[in-house]
């Protein structure tokens, strides 16, 4: 008890020497970027602001137009169509890779490094390779032709359905190494003793996975899901690099549509209305996830 009081007063002493004022610059930057600017942006979403000159308050007109315009509506749907499977599959593949590479393999370190490489690369740049592979005259169609599947050949990025799938696939390719690294760290923190005890009890691999590995990976699962949700819902680079949102705007996502409306068409008010929808989407999903995941994590551990 006595020591408790002592440390407290000592803490106070050091605290007094650290001036409050040092908090301010960082706080001001964060406030500008994450409170003031977004609030002003939310305000613009209800105007017909064009970037310069006067603007009028137009109520919900931007939102009405978004929900009445096919390409904008597609942008919203495409965002969900991409993000939901992406979050699921990036977790599945990331975990699978982490589990496989957790085995005693001689090349495991170099393999891990290879899977992680795409995650550090400028997405727009590395996407160009996929654009080439999926091109009508590109390697994928050449391979299909050479094995006699000529009828399968198509303009993969020119068709909205396959174009969207290609965007999804490239997102997965670029991010599964990232998920793997986080799961890998989670696996490394599980004590070997648990597996030894399980081995003595003679349980199956599946039981080991289900009752030891999976519950103890709950914190990693939370990190990967949170991170990949934001990545998935914000997808922009792969769209820009692969399809450019085309054909006729049918593979746009909220982020790419926001970019196009704002910076290509100078419809700042309309663009920020799209950004507001994206922000609300991420916030809602984020709050839901964190409440579900923290409950689950608590239960499992």
């Amino acid at each position: 008890m006595k020591t408790g009081i002592k440390t407290r007063s000592r803490q106070k002493k050091v605290g007094a020497r650290v001036p409050w004022i040092i908090v301010i610059p960082g706080l001001v930057f964060a406030l500008i970027g994450h409170v003031i600017a977004p609030l002003q942006g939310a305000f613009y979403a209800f105007t017909d602001f064009k970037g310069i000159g006067e603007y009028n308050m137009i109520g919900f007109d931007n939102f009405k137009e978004i929900f009445a315009t096919k390409t904008d509506l597609y942008a919203l749907l495409n965002t969900l169509k991409l993000a939901i499977p992406f979050i699921i599959f990036v977790n599945v593949f990331g975990l699978l890779l982490a589990l496989v590479l957790y085995n005693k393999l001689k090349t495991k370190n170099i393999l891990k490094s290879i899977y992680f490489v795409p995650a550090i690369m400028i997405p727009l740049a590395v996407t160009q390779v996929w654009k080439y592979i999926l091109d009508y005259d590109g390697p994928l169609n050449i391979i299909l032709r050479s094995v006699g599947l000529e009828s399968w050949c198509k303009n993969w990025l020119g068709d909205p359905k396959t174009g969207l799938f290609c965007i999804f696939f490239v997102m997965l390719w670029q991010n599964c190494g990232y998920a793997m690294i986080i799961y890998n760290a989670g696996l490394a923190s599980i004590s070997e003793d648990l597996y030894e005890a399980a081995a003595i009890d003679g349980v199956t691999t599946w039981t080991k996975f289900r009752y030891i590995t999976l519950p103890l990976l709950a914190p990693s699962l939370t990190v990967v899901i949170t991170l990949m949700t934001v990545t998935g819902l914000r997808v922009f680079d792969q769209v820009l690099g692969l399809t450019g949102g085309g054909p006729v705007g049918l593979t746009q996502t909220l982020a790419s549509d926001f970019y196009k409306q704002t910076w290509t068409l100078n419809r700042y008010g309309y663009g920020t209305a799209l950004a507001l929808i994206l922000t609300l989407l991420v916030s809602i999903v984020g709050v839901l996830q964190s409440s579900i995941l923290s409950k689950r994590e608590g239960k499992m551990s």
Partner: protein
């Protein structure tokens, strides 16, 4: 999961190596085709180049004929990333230090604000930031870009540091204060040197984000004289459609700096990305 290396593990290893080769095959195509002529890249996409054709790299780096300046873009990306990192580390660590040394309701509230700031996407604030910077003539400048990233990445930086400062014992600081060191000396000579690990993580996460970010750089810099790697890649790919040897040379030039950094720090990079995110 404890097991010895057996025949079965050997078989497993062969299978996973084969899968990895397929996974990494785009990199093979990227490299071999960047050394071919445009014609050869079309005629023979899979084979090794007949002879190494360096011309694409020369064109991309000199800017002759491709109407792009990758050497300049490299320089701009470097300055913008380094400048932002400097601001983020300097002010982020100070803010986090201040918060951690003044425990109380206000600090907890501010801490929660920083955590929320990490998750919420920042597209919504992009237009106001753009108009604000334009009114002071900073759109299309390196300083403007540095300010944007300093605002955007501040919450993450403060979040990373706060956890570490909270768990840092105060004995050294107290000793320094007793020895008569002022606040600045204590902070720079005693506190920060103990923060090497988390500074590394903060540098890494922020530089990956800033170096690789496309949207903000396209929004603030395209059409200006200050162009970065993502901006330059985009304009080159739209202008040089189907000249894959040139596109790939540009892609390699823009990916190389990060890949070189990765080769030398890969284990550290992977550890700190996984560790830093756990908080």
């Amino acid at each position: 999961m404890i097991n010895k290396y057996t025949k079965k593990s050997f078989l497993k290893e062969i299978i996973i190596i084969l899968i990895t080769i397929i996974f990494a095959s785009p990199f093979y195509l990227l490299i071999v085709n960047s050394f071919k002529t445009t014609k050869e890249a079309y005629a023979n996409p899979f084979g090794l180049p007949k002879e190494l054709y360096w011309q694409s790299f020369a064109e991309v780096l000199s800017g002759a004929g491709v109407n792009a300046d990758f050497a300049g873009a490299l320089f701009n990306s470097l300055i913008i990333t380094a400048g932002s990192l400097l601001m983020l580390i300097a002010f982020g660590s100070l803010t986090a230090y201040g918060l951690s040394r003044h425990p109380g309701k206000l600090s907890s509230f501010l801490y929660i604000f920083f955590v929320i700031g990490i998750i919420i996407p920042s597209q919504l604030g992009l237009v106001p930031m753009y108009t604000a910077l334009r009114s002071v003539g900073l759109v299309g400048t390196r300083i403007g870009m540095i300010l944007v990233y300093t605002c955007k990445q501040m919450p993450l930086t403060v979040f990373l540091y706060t956890g570490f400062f909270k768990s840092l014992p105060r004995d050294y600081e107290e000793a320094a204060v007793i020895d008569g060191a002022g606040f600045i000396k204590t902070f720079t000579r005693v506190v920060m040197p103990q923060m090497k690990t988390i500074t590394g993580t903060a540098l890494l996460l922020n530089s990956l984000y800033i170096w690789n970010d496309t949207m903000d750089q396209m929004a603030f810099l395209s059409g200006s004289k200050i162009r970065t790697l993502p901006v330059e890649i985009y304009s080159l790919t739209t202008a040089m459609t189907a000249q894959w040897n040139l596109v790939f040379a540009a892609v390699i030039v823009s990916l190389l700096p990060m890949v070189i950094l990765y080769i030398f720090t890969q284990k550290k990079m992977m550890d700190s990305l996984a560790g830093g995110l756990k908080g």
